[in-house]
Amino acid sequence: MSETTAEKIPVTVLTGYLGAGKTTLLNRILSENHGKKYAVIVNEFGEIGIDNDLIIGADEEVFEMNNGCICCTVRGDLVRILDGLMKRKGKFDAIIVETTGLADPAPVAQTFFVDEDVQNNARLDAVVTVADAKWLSDRLKDAPEAKNQIAFADVIVLNKTDLVTPPELAEVEGRIRAINPYAKLHRTQRCQVALSDVLERGAFDLDRILELEPEFLAADEHDHDHEHCHDENCTHEHHHHDHDHHHDHDHGHGHGMKHYHDEDMQSLSLHSDKPLDPNKFMPWLQQLVATEGQKILRSKGILAFSGDDDRYVFQGVHMMLEGDHQRAWKEGEPRQSRLVFIGRELPEQTIRDGFERCIAA
């Protein structure tokens, strides 16, 4: 394809279990006076009360790529619809893809990794998950889809907070953080969240991984964050450990925050102050996602390689990785490597040991 100088259209993926409030958020996005026009790809026609000729029905059709990669599933309908929408470039500013309540967000995200035409024209902006404060804790126990949607999220809109008591809210947040400590979390009623908090996030933009460091690595600016950690050691631990050690005296929520260790879905963070050997790290990472990619939902990293004055950043969805040199390390900036994996039944010790072996001698 020819190189296009035109801006790629941002695509926001809106997920959430049945009844969490996706449609409420969508209606808000479409009706608010923000001066932008959205094309919306929905599964249920008619739920949206806004008249818009750029609302397109989708059938959420997933197929497996014939590339020997068993978890490489793609939304073929999305490829087709985005292709059709691109004929109307200039008529809209951004695209929102609503998934059904039972959908796994991975095939949507993977579509943006594997399809050349999609990549040329559009970019995945963020996965936004709307969660029901009252029922999410139950769904996390009985619905694997709900867990996937939380684990996959860049932004979580924790909705219907008016229907729960403060301790219940603290509990559900604790459960969310046990799965995904990196997503931006917003407490809302009737999805009253600033649209700038859910749109134009650049969560999949390698160039903006820097900006994501606060959530991504340690210090979430949010007042509801429970795993603050300014301690050098904590990045070698599961975040729930950080939380155990720090939350009481660091914050004093008065919520009586409990620690939840989700049985299977978790995040794993790795850190090294010593530079990595790219000739060891790259094969290790590729091998890791090739063998464990079904378990790894999301991965991200900022890396310092030996003999390399540039920061290297990468991100991945299951077995798919993309990475690039981002920019030169700044003077005085600590050349640290940090990686995050969110996944199911991650072989923690194996990953830690493998990572340690990638540290340059």
Binding site: I56, G57, D59, N66, R80, G84, K87, R88
Partner: protein, 340 residues
């Protein structure tokens, strides 16, 4: 691409007819071009067809309220499907008729034309056929329809979808035959002799079946998805886009291309984006993603430069029925007509 492989080395020696091309400015992205008689009809991405006569006069004709998602032509008319849910028929005199309107205003993703006058289109998982007499029938398949093609003989429609192709005789009650192959099948074509069916897949490959026994033919090795295919005038080879050369699959024998090497023609430091074989001679036109257009003799690969490389990819390429005029257009609406 490395500068060292620029075409400049060849550009001096290659025969060029670029000064004989009549430039046409469409003024909007073009997705296809068809000939209605001697008039070239350029299909815009949105709303409008542009009719360009032999004398170079251009006339715009709005046909859809939105994007034009697919067109087909038999030389006498064009049928188009739009994101306004309409199937439109356009004739050479510029008359426009609405053949169908989807009740739910779903996108009309694909259209196909049968020589006897039947028309097919699809919306979502449903394929529709309207016979020359105006009788309409429909059939649902397992996923959204990727492509439609009428068989060269009889009223038989190939409907490509996930994991294969459904071969449907709309006038028979028999259960349609399904040709299986895992993956998402998009474009679909019959060979002119009705012996083979070929689909372009979401992956950068083609898949084929010998219709007599549903024997599989895998045609792989492309760096990008194959979006343009064209049968040679003698029907013995299938020219395809997707690589930095034209890949030409041999279909002359009863086994099709199985066990044979494809022909490799017209290498360039750019991807082939469109192919259009001449309707009568052993020649094809080739458009590239860097805007170049070549005419290539299939037998020996001799090349003639029709258009030098430019800003945008060639997105439309077609011969008139006589094979005397070649029309092309690029994504930015820069188009041209070349009379042999």
């Amino acid at each position: 691409m490395s500068k060292a492989f620029e075409q400049s080395d060849n550009a001096g020696s290659i025969v060029s007819v670029t000064d004989r091309v009549r430039p046409v400015e469409i003024g909007a992205p073009v997705s296809a071009v068809h000939f209605l008689g001697e008039t070239a009809v350029f299909v815009g991405d949105e709303e409008t067809l542009t009719f360009v006569t032999g004398s170079g006069e251009a006339a715009r004709l709005p046909i859809h309220d939105g994007a034009i998602l697919g067109t087909a032509s038999d030389g006498k008319r064009i049928v188009s499907g739009g994101d306004d849910g309409k199937v439109i028929e356009i004739k050479a005199d510029g008359s426009v008729a609405t053949l169908a309107t989807d009740a739910k205003r779903r996108w009309i993703d694909n259209v196909a034309l049968h020589p006897d006058g039947a028309v097919a289109w699809s919306a979502g998982k449903t394929a529709f056929v309207r016979s020359a007499k105006g009788e309409e029938k429909s059939r649902d398949v397992i996923s959204t329809v990727g492509g439609l093609a009428f068989a060269p003989k009889g009223l038989r429609l190939a409907i490509s979808h996930y994991n294969g192709v459904t071969l449907w005789f709309p006038n028979m009650t028999a259960v349609p035959e399904v040709l299986d192959w895992a993956g998402s099948h998009l474009g679909v074509v019959f060979s002119p002799d009705n012996k083979f069916l070929v689909t372009s897949m979401h992956e950068p490959s083609l898949h084929g079946w010998r219709l007599a026994d549903a024997r599989h033919m895998r045609m792989t090795g492309y760096p990008t998805r194959v979006k343009s295919v064209s049968w040679s005038a003698d029907g013995k080879s299938l020219a395809t886009s997707g690589a930095d050369t034209v890949i030409l699959w041999p279909f002359a024998s009863k086994d099709g291309p199985m066990g044979k090497e494809p022909g490799i023609l017209a290498p360039m430091p750019s991807r082939v984006s469109m192919v259009a074989c001449h309707p009568k001679q052993d020649v094809m036109a080739v458009g590239y993603s860097d805007g170049t257009v070549l005419m290539v003799r299939i037998s020996d690969g001799a090349e003639i430069l029709v258009r030098r490389k430019a800003e945008q990819a060639i997105t439309a390429l077609a011969w008139n029925a006589q094979g005397s005029v070649l029309a092309f257009a690029a994504a930015d609406g820069n188009a041209g007509l070349f009379t042999l």
